[in-house]
């Protein structure tokens, strides 16, 4: 069992000899085995036990990095040198990268212990973690239900105490939605806050890397380590990284906006009520709550699926069987090799999105789809810019429903896509968002509340999350 609430308590216990890091890591490894039916991990690094004594020593002599001994799982779309990088796809089943993603390297440099790579939707495309060549991940809260996706394994691993924290990626909600379904914290940082180097691209201008944890302090701690400009990623920002930890409790009376478009038809009543309970709580705390407008919200899903599939169709072109990855045995000529390798190597959802993306970029359709969606993206960004002139934070549900049953939506991709209605806008606008677990519905399924802040204002985001973290 875990007898610490967050990482700083863990460090204290280790320093006071009340916790052995080796036993702690063994606990996680055993727990992973006990819960193997969750299917949260694609790969478990049993040999990470070997690092424990040296890190424990560092902790005791005060030379340890910020994340010393934190046991972290990595979504299997992020590269770790000499470890498999499958993206939960058959097309990369045997691929071993020769490089490590910058975000992961920063964790390693801060003395974190990387315990394994987590299952996810293939190439991070999906909202249920059912699109995986390694099989579906089960929700630890209710094993008949999905954990959400695409970072379902990372969320399930944290929710089921199979690690201290994990990294996921969020292109349209892939951190916040599974965090909501599994009842944990999950943060999508500002686009450009964390280097994408080593993250297998799904939609390059949307992809972000962020942490899952069971408490806000650990979210802030991991974020502070993985953030920052990286010369290997031209789209990472040269913005200073604030000290997220010390600023956690600097709570001011923020102005909070409730976008009316997010509380309209389609929102589950229990979620609606749970959120307004929290809104009342914030009001009582003296926060200014106002209704705001994000008028282009209704176009966000369409724009999102046009732009992300366009980028994906190009990003995934490299998986062609020619140089690495899976190649079909039916490869008697070039066209054969391409068609068969990609047909056999990719799952259906990937093929669906590649076809959609190829179509919207085709000559004759580019202006009607891609260019128009780019315009919508700019308008959505302007919606947020205007909103953030009036409020510091925007509060919404994370998902329209709680976790759904495995298999419930697999036959209807469009319904699956519509589940992303509250999360895609943050990626279109490049702003940060967090899922805050705020309780459970009558079936005992976690309910998530999303808070979004202006670009690079994760400090405000985290400090409001901390209010709920402390009130638990």
């Amino acid at each position: 069992m875990l007898n610490y609430k967050n990482h700083s308590e863990k460090i204290s216990l280790i320093k006071e000899d009340k916790l052995s890091l080796r036993e702690n890591v063994s606990f996680f490894l055993d727990n992973i085995k006990r819960n193997s039916n969750l299917n949260a991990y694609n790969f478990v690094f049993d040999d990470c036990l070997m690092q424990t004594s040296s890190i424990e020593q560092k902790i005791k002599n005060g030379s340890a990095g910020k994340l010393a001994g934190m046991v972290i799982a990595i979504k299997d779309v992020l590269a770790i040198k000499q470890q498999p990088l499958t993206c939960s796809s058959n097309i990369l089943r045997d691929f071993i990268p020769t490089y490590t993603a910058t975000a992961v390297q920063k964790l390693i440099d801060a003395d974190a212990i990387i315990i394994g790579k987590t299952n996810c939707d293939e190439f991070a495309m999906g909202s249920s973690n059912e699109n995986s060549a390694f099989g579906a991940v089960l929700n630890p809260v209710d094993k008949s239900r999905v954990p959400g996706g695409s970072s379902g394994g990372s969320a399930a691993a944290v929710a089921a105490s199979l690690c201290d924290a994990s990294l996921g990626t969020d292109t349209g909600g892939s951190i916040r939605q599974p965090a909501a379904f599994c009842g944990i914290y999950g943060l999508k940082p500002t686009y450009g806050r964390v280097s994408r180097y080593g993250l297998t691209a799904f939609a390059s201008s949307f992809d972000t890397i962020g942490p899952f944890a069971r408490n806000v302090e650990d979210i802030a701690l991991v974020l502070s380590v993985i953030s920052g400009y990286d010369e290997k990623d031209s789209t990472s920002f040269r913005t200073d990284v604030p000290d997220f930890i010390t600023k956690l409790n600097s709570i001011k009376k923020f102005r909070i906006g409730l976008p009316k478009e997010y509380f309209a038809e389609g929102l589950n009543e229990e979620i609606h009520n749970a959120i307004f309970e929290k809104v009342e709580y914030l009001k009582k705390q003296g926060f200014e709550i106002t209704e705001i407008e994000l008028p282009h919200t209704e176009y966000s899903i369409s724009a999102y699926y046009i732009l992300t599939t366009a980028e994906a169709s190009s990003n995934l072109a490299r998986f062609d069987g020619a140089r690495y990855g899976f190649r079909s045995k039916e490869d008697k000529n070039l066209l054969n090799m391409y068609v068969n390798s990609r047909s056999e190597g990719f799952g259906n959802e990937i093929k669906r999105r590649i076809m959609l993306g190829t179509y919207v970029l085709s000559s004759g359709y580019y202006d009607a789809y891609y260019r128009k969606a780019q315009k919508v993206r700019r308008l959505l960004k302007q919606d947020f810019d205007k909103a953030f002139e009036k409020v510091d934070l925007i509060l919404t549900p994370t998902t329209p429903t709680t976790a759904f049953k495995i298999g419930e939506k697999t036959s209807d991709p469009l319904e699956m896509y519509l589940g992303d209605i509250y999360t895609t806008s943050a990626n279109l606008a490049g702003i940060p968002g967090i899922n805050i677990p705020i309780g459970k519905d009558k079936q005992g399924l976690p309910i998530g509340m999303q808070v979004m802040a202006n670009q690079f204002d994760e400090v405000t985001l985290l400090s409001v999350a901390q209010i709920f973290n402390l009130s638990e």
Binding site: V77, L78, A79, L85, C87, L92, F95, P97, T98, Y99, A101, R196, Y197, G198, L199, T200, A201, A203, S204, S205, E231, K232, D233, S234, T235, A310, E311, S313, S314, L316, A317, R318, F319, D320, A322, R323, Y324, L334, Y338, T358, L361, S362, S363, Y366, Y370
Partner: protein, 482 residues
């Protein structure tokens, strides 16, 4: 060409830029490395890696833009050109499509009749090269990705040329500019300069363009000329026979001197260009533009005009000397040793160029240093050796690049300018040849040549010819008086 018709030609030229490293990663651009050794996860297109812009590529391309009077766009963006091919690891080529870095320039060519013509430049943009597919090694196709990510600059001309000759002149001029700028070695045979031609024909006086074809694979300047000529004739023949030109891509086959179809319009790729989300827009602000313009060397025309002005050279000389930057540099280096501009020009245009052409070497490979050639010219001017001796020792300089002073000393070739010494030789020759003196006195002036020859033979060519002439004439004249 049939005088009824006029050809319309536009060229797309790809120039490999002489940067040390690739356009989006730190790999070397060396072209002679073993296959698949100048590679890294970025140029191999592995999952998760990202391109990082090489600033030098921006500077070189902007420099070309400035040299061709293009507008340098403050903001330009990269796009992805999507197509599948095994030597294209990412499945797309990073190029520029909408918003290229340079637009609306020109290159001026001089036609055979001496008149000048401006060929418009539509755009110049940056892009990465693909790898090489090697098809002639048994039944398998081999891929060498060393070239992947080598920086290219594409220069797209307006359809302003009307003959193969004009295309040839444009291309030659373009090569001269890139080599002057030091941004490309301009070698078409090795592929560091590649040219595709868009060709159509129309009746003279017609303003509408005809259907064009694109000719590729012309890997020398001569082949460009030949291929364009061939294609113009082919199109005319089709029209004359009542046929229609089909829009298609054609390949020039240099071995067979003919054109073969590659793909038709129906088979043309839809490249699905869109802005590359992995790269930020390239911003060339005023400050950077000024820095880049400071890298601008003196361009050929300017240098030619300066040579005419500063060194009083005939236009013909100046034209040849400035034809390449290396040659002009070589010439001006000679002038650091001697100020005999015209002699230096003569030496370069005859001995030096003859040698370079005969041996098929470059100026850089020419064995005699400009300093040593300058010294040689100086020795002639200072009467240390004669021009004849200089020509005699030049071959040795070619094989050893020795200081001519050393050669002259070692071989004891210093010119005799001492009049009494020369007088002695003349007296000896005259007294030994009374018959020839008689001939002279009877009016046969030509016999002077015989005496000079004898004197030179006696002095092993070292006697100063001017002094010999003067003394010989006065001695012979004095015999007439007697």
């Amino acid at each position: 060409m049939d005088s009824k018709y006029e050809a319309v030609i536009g060229l797309e030229v790809h120039a490999q830029l002489l940067t040390d490293t690739k356009i989006f990663c730190g790999c070397s651009t060396r072209f002679d490395a073993p296959p698949n050794t100048n590679v890294c996860p970025v140029c191999l297109g592995h999952p998760g890696v990202l391109p990082v812009m090489n600033k030098k590529v921006v500077e070189f391309t902007a420099l070309m833009g400035l040299a061709t009077e293009c507008a340098i766009n403050e903001r330009s963006i990269f796009a992805r050109k999507n197509y599948f091919y095994p030597d294209l690891p990412k499945g797309y080529q990073i190029s520029q499509y909408e918003e290229p870095i340079c637009e609306h320039g020109k290159i001026t060519i001089e036609l055979k009749d001496g008149s000048m013509r401006d060929i418009g430049i539509i755009r110049i943009h940056m892009e990465e090269d693909a790898g090489k597919s090697i098809h002639d090694q048994g039944s398998e196709t081999l891929i060498d990705v060393n070239r992947c990510g080598t920086p290219l600059m594409e220069i797209v001309s307006e359809p302003d040329m009307h003959t193969a000759d004009e295309a040839y002149l444009y291309l030659t001029k373009l090569k001269q500019i890139v080599t002057y700028l030091g941004i490309c070695d301009g070698n078409m045979e090795e592929g560091s300069l590649r040219c595709d031609a868009n060709i159509s024909i129309r009746l003279k006086g017609e303003t509408k363009l005809g259907t064009k074809t694109e000719v590729k694979n012309m890997n020398s300047f001569r082949n460009v000329e030949k291929a364009i000529e061939f294609e113009i004739e082919r199109q005319i023949d089709i029209l004359e026979e009542g046929g229609r030109i089909v829009q298609q891509t054609l390949l020039w086959n240099a071995d067979q001197n003919k054109i073969i179809p590659m793909r038709s319009k129906e088979e043309a790729h839809d490249y699905r260009y869109f802005p590359d989300p992995d790269l930020m827009p390239v911003i060339v602000d005023q400050k950077w533009k000024v820095e880049i313009s400071k890298m601008m060397p003196e361009l050929p025309e300017k240098r030619r005009d300066r040579f005419i002005e500063q060194y009083s050279l005939p236009k013909y000389d100046a034209e040849i000397l400035t034809s390449s930057r290396d040659l002009a540099d070589y010439y001006e280096k000679i002038l650091t040793v001697t100020d005999d501009y015209k002699s230096a020009s003569n030496w370069v245009m005859t001995e030096v160029l003859k040698n370079i052409n005969d041996r098929k070497i470059t100026v850089a490979q020419f064995p005699v240093s400009a300093e040593n050639l300058g010294k040689l010219i100086k020795m002639i001017n200072e009467n240390i050796i004669s021009g004849k001796i200089a020509k005699e020792i030049f071959p040795e300089m070619l094989s050893t690049n020795s200081d001519p002073n050393v050669i002259v000393k070692e071989k004891n070739l210093v010119q005799i300018t001492d009049t009494s010494e020369i007088e002695n030789v003349i007296d000896g020759i005259l007294s030994a040849n009374p018959k020839q003196i008689e001939e002279f006195l009877s009016g046969k002036d030509k016999v002077i040549g015989f005496f000079v020859g004898q004197i030179m033979k006696e002095t092993k060519g070292k006697a100063n010819p001017a002094i010999v002439n003067e003394l010989l004439k006065s001695k012979l004249e004095s015999k007439r008086e007697k």
